[in-house]
């Protein structure tokens, strides 16, 4: 069941990524919603689920892109595993620490993705720092806000019920 939820979340992120960049939000291309979901899954479910989520999501993005199949997959696999390990070794429950994890995960992903392309002599990335920094900030913000909303929603109904006076 958990696997289905993770798969559905990744599929939703993938579809949203294509729809939002194509239709609605200018500059949404700076965000990587799929990476955000991979990091979220890794933080909440651990390194193995993070690794599997990263592999599936990265390969799907590669398959829909114009590059080499597997490079994005490898980058997201490593990021999913690494974030999962960080989530099990450290307490990452405060918004600030999550912000740092999302930002660092984005930077790691960009370094792996670009490093592999440059290392294989397939592409060059002249001055990518501004784009990576923008994406790290965007992903971190959206990731932390999404995290807070997901944690906040289940408790909302209970809090409302608790506030309601008892009927006699």
């Amino acid at each position: 069941m958990r696997g289905v939820v993770v798969a559905a979340a990744l599929a939703l992120a993938l579809v949203l990524q294509t729809l939002l960049t194509g239709l609605v939000i200018r500059g949404a291309a700076a965000l990587d919603l799929v990476l955000i979901v991979v990091v979220y899954v890794a933080l909440t479910r651990g390194p193995v689920t993070g690794l599997v989520a990263g592999t599936v999501a990265g390969l799907a993005q590669d398959a829909l892109g114009s590059g080499v199949l597997g490079i994005g997959g490898l980058a997201k696999t490593i990021v999913g595993f690494a974030v999962g390990v960080v989530g099990t070794q450290f307490i990452v429950s405060a918004p600030l620490s999550r912000l740092v994890v999302f930002a660092m995960a984005t930077v790691l992903h960009a370094a792996l993705f670009m490093g592999l392309y440059v290392g294989l002599g397939l592409r060059s990335f002249p001055s990518p720092f501004e784009a990576v920094a923008t994406q790290a900030v965007g992903n971190a913000f959206v990731g932390v806000v999404g995290f807070q909303i997901i944690e906040w929603l289940p408790g909302l109904a209970e809090r409302r019920r608790a506030r309601r006076p008892l009927k006699r």
């Binding site: 194509g22 390194p47 592999t55 114009s66 597997g70 595993f81 999962g84 294989l120």
Partner: protein, 281 residues
């Protein structure tokens, strides 16, 4: 039981996943022979999901708009205001329809002017990853689309088809990092190769530093790449700098505004020297 064992050994799983990716990458980098099966299958499925999602989004928009309109009609006190709002909405709709008609007219004019067999298509989705500059269009192999067909718009060259499925296709924009096209400066007929760099500008390379190139020069397709027909506008020269290897460093501003791309034409006539059945690289 076996799955449970693997989950207890994340290190083994991690190394296995890395090896899997390395194998996948190696097969493509060493032997680039078309798109892999996994890629085609994934796009076939996701293309349908994108079409369905767009249908749902439009359906929800329609249902929501209808509900709100009906709800507001019931408010008698706001009848006049409602009428004004309705007229404003209609005016906006008319404007949108006029803009769309204008856009389609330009497309039709381009089709007639170009004298090529083309298929009109609508952009239905953006890239799946911010690392790639691609769009998905609503026409595929059923309409005769194949890989490496040129995609153009009234403003100029858009890119090329890289992966058609039955009813949709992925188009690699000319600004994508993996994109390139044979080009020439219209005024001086100097030839070069236009390369995408992943941003909103292009680079014109392999132009000798003695060649006559000036900012403002129009850059058009040369037709030697076997993909884009000759003479279509790519963009204008933005900046010319001195290079170090005997070549100019030339920045080109694309003629097409890729953030506002809605309708395109896919050229189904192969350029001279390349048959449709050519499997490509």
């Amino acid at each position: 039981m076996a799955i449970a064992d693997i989950r207890q050994r994340p290190g083994v799983l991690f190394v296995s996943a890395i090896l899997l990716h390395v194998v996948i990458i190696s097969t493509q980098v060493n032997a680039p022979s078309g798109r892999p099966l996994l890629s085609a299958l994934t796009f076939g499925v996701v293309g349908e999901v994108q079409r369905a999602s767009m249908g749902v989004v439009r359906g929800v928009q329609g249902a929501w708009g209808g509900y709100v309109a009906l709800h507001e009609v019931q408010e008698e006190n706001a009848r006049l205001e409602q009428q004004v709002q309705t007229l404003q909405v209609r005016l906006q709709e008319q404007r949108a329809m006029a803009e769309r008609a204008q856009s389609l007219r330009q497309l039709l004019e381009l089709r007639e002017r170009a004298g090529l067999d083309t298929v009109a298509a609508e952009v239905i989705a953006g890239p799946a990853s911010p690392d790639f500059r691609t769009v998905t269009i609503d026409r595929g192999s059923r309409e005769g689309l194949a890989a490496d067909m040129s995609v153009i718009s009234p403003a100029g060259v858009v890119g090329r088809v890289i992966q058609p499925s039955a009813r949709a296709a992925i188009v690699q924009l000319i600004v994508d990092r993996n994109a390139a096209a044979g080009a020439l400066i219209e005024r001086s007929r100097v030839q070069g190769v236009v390369l995408g760099v992943g941003s909103e500008t292009l680079q014109l390379e392999y132009v000798s530093d003695t060649a006559d190139v000036q900012p403002g020069d129009l850059v058009v397709t040369s037709g030697i790449d076997g993909i884009h027909p000759k003479g279509f506008v790519i963009g204008t020269v933005d900046r010319v700098d001195a290079g170090t290897n005997g070549f100019h460093v030339i920045a080109v501003r694309p003629a097409v505004d890729f953030s506002r791309l809605e309708e395109v034409l896919v050229v189904v006539t192969p350029p001279p020297g390349r048959a449709l059945t050519d499997p490509g690289p």
